[in-house]
């Protein structure tokens, strides 16, 4: 190893506990994202969105700030690894992530006991789909015809949101113990 020049002190970064949480959860989310991209698409526009389980889990365990980091890191790093960075796929992924983070931020402000993983997941899934549709409509297919697909894909989004929410809730219960 080269010794450092004497006039330069090594830059020391002390990772906080939050940094560790974000790094671990983002790593898992990225892994799921990549594995999922290898699964063939049965119906265009429909993906299980299993990586979102990690976002919801992060939200329930550590709050919105961590969830936002995990979600955006997943979209960014996942796309760089898959090779879709800045492609339409990436933009759709990003718009979905931003829309669901926005709705999750609002959902965390609810009074009382607020939402559990299930409610968060359903809301996030619907926001995700809506964000993607808006982007697709504004950027790629500016024809009102695509909105005919919207009810169908929203139905699937709600169903997958419920399934992912249940998985996420179990994961949260497990990790809290």
């Amino acid at each position: 190893m080269m010794p450092l020049p004497s006039n330069q002190s090594p830059l020391l970064l002390t990772p906080t506990r939050d940094d560790h949480h974000i790094a671990w959860l983002a790593a898992v989310a990225i892994l799921i994202h990549i594995l999922e991209s290898a699964v063939p698409v049965v119906l265009p526009g429909i993906k299980p969105g299993l990586a979102n389980i990690i976002t919801i889990t992060a939200l329930c365990l550590y709050g919105w700030h961590t969830a936002a980091w995990v979600s955006l890191l997943r979209v960014l790093v996942g796309s760089v690894i898959i090779g879709s960075f800045l492609s339409p796929t990436f933009l759709l992924s990003l718009s979905g992530a931003l829309a669901s983070l926005a709705i999750l931020k609002l959902a965390t402000l609810l009074p009382g006991r607020g939402l559990s993983a299930l409610g968060y997941s359903v809301l996030a899934a619907m926001a995700h789909m809506t964000g993607q549709f808006l982007l697709a409509y504004l950027l790629f297919i500016p024809h009102p015809g695509i909105w005919r697909l919207y009810p169908l894909l929203m139905t699937v989004a709600v169903l997958l949101g419920i399934i992912n929410g249940i998985i996420s809730q179990r994961l949260v219960n497990h990790l809290r113990r």
Binding site: L110, G112, R113, G114, L115, S116, L118, G119, V122, L123, M126, H143, P144, G145, W147, R148, Y150, P151, M154, T155, V158, G161, I162
Partner: protein
């Protein structure tokens, strides 16, 4: 499951039927076909009277047939004739194109807001 969770689920279950109702209304026959060449409007043809229309494109003339509130490509100078095989357009909002010839056809209008209008 918290009370808010139930509210979210109920909201989703109410929203979904509303979306189907909102976006899956029956489509109405259009009244007019807009023909564009290189994104420029060339001709607006009425679908209510049977006619044959000729429009100049990049490669040559595309010929349309209009009958029974429908429009289709009948002749095209392009190679694969995808436009002709596409068949008839009738609903408002439908689009077909002959990409090699730079021609796009869109059906517009025809959504009836009133049952009848009296003067």
């Amino acid at each position: 499951m918290t009370a808010w969770d139930r509210i979210v689920i109920v909201f989703a279950l109410v929203l979904l039927p509303w979306l189907y109702w909102q976006f899956w209304q029956p489509r109405y026959s259009g009244e007019t076909a807009r023909i564009k060449y290189d994104q420029q409007l060339v001709q607006e043809i009425s679908l209510t009277k049977s006619q044959t229309v000729r429009v100049k494109g990049e490669l040559g003339d595309s010929i349309f047939e209009v009958r029974d509130q429908q429009v289709r490509f009948t002749h095209s100078p392009c190679q694969n004739k995808v436009c002709i095989h596409y068949g008839w357009l009738t609903h408002s909002g439908e689009v077909m194109a002959c990409i090699p010839n730079h021609i796009v056809v869109e059906v517009i209008g025809g959504k009836r807001v009133y049952d009848a209008v009296a003067f």
